[in-house]
Symmetry: C2
Subunit: 154 residues, 2 copies
DNA sequence: CGATATAAGACTAAAAACATCTTATATATC
DNA sequence: GATATATAAGATGTTTTTAGTCTTATATCG
């Protein structure tokens, strides 16, 4: 297992959407800027989240992404695994057949246990709870706030 | 965090040495053959284990490796971290300064917790316990058994 | 000394991660 | 309907990491 950048970015994306609540449309640009993720990269990640049924993508002018479920129904585990696939600390955890020794291997059992524990911990964390303690103050985003002039940048 | 091949091989190496017990000299070749690890790769891994004080390397003819500690004193965690460095599930766990958001981030806290839990689980597993339930029957290795002719191969 | 074994690190190949770019398509607004 | 804007989809490119090999040097036994 390895939490890649894509995985981390996916979490940030859902986290930001969760701040706006279920169903609210948020532009890719806003998410990208606010969570510090390369916009084109975010597009890819969003597609994976959409395939997993976590978000919905709206195309066209004034398009963007929206959460399909309530933040309390979305876990860290679901978001991570939507992007990097099922967590597997060692090859033999996800594919026991990759090591002929796995049926007898006592180390294998430790990995299995650790893996299960890790997934459980990540499953316990839902985005409603995460947001509750989150001190993030959601200041208006330029585009959303109704004027187009750049603020600060340039 | 990511258990690399080197990490997995390191565990196999220590596991094999543990079967022979603390202090017993075992040739690199035997370990490599028995645990299915490329010999030159094993050399590298052994050096890391030696630096971490887990094994001792004996050079010269009839050289090899030996465990410095009792198997019960060696944990999975120690071996893994000797090779891949301290376990860190996400960048921000090992280096909080890598994300300016880490002091406030609620996701960060979940990672910290999960990381701590994982390390604890791997620390609980020592090689004496692992070997106890290990059904491996240690048949004599050709070189060790006192004759030099190749068996089976070629 | 000579045979054998590891040390140490350079080197290479392959894979994965990370990111960008291009072309196509969908939608709102005029 | 035309146009501008936003995402879709996937090809492409760059960089980093992993995995493994090779070469030269050194240590030890007999
Ligand atoms: S030796 Fe054990 S821990 Fe290692 S890959 Fe095989 S089954 Fe997994
Ligand atoms: S946003 Fe939170 S979880 Fe993600 S890298 Fe920063 S501190 Fe870690």
């Amino acid at each position: 297992m390895r939490l890649t950048r894509a995985g981390e970015y996916g979490i940030r994306c859902v986290q930001h959407l969760a701040r706006h609540g279920k169903g609210t449309l948020v532009s890719r640009k806003e998410i990208a800027v606010r969570t510090d993720v390369p916009p084109h990269f975010l597009a890819k990640i969003a597609q994976q989240l959409a395939r997993a049924g976590i978000i919905e993508i709206q195309q066209g002018a004034n398009g963007g992404y929206r959460l399909l479920r309530d933040p309390s129904e979305i876990t860290l585990l679901a978001v991570i695994e939507a992007i990097i696939g099922e967590i597997s600390l060692n090859d033999c955890v996800g594919r026991p057949e990759s090591c002929h020794n796995s049926p007898l291997c006592t180390v294998h059992r430790v990995w299995n246990k650790a893996n299960q524990q890790l997934r459980a911990t990540l499953q316990e964390a839902d985005f409603a709870t995460l947001a509750k303690e989150d001190p993030c103050c959601l200041t208006p985003f330029p585009e959303t706030a109704g004027h187009n002039g750049p603020i600060g940048k340039k």
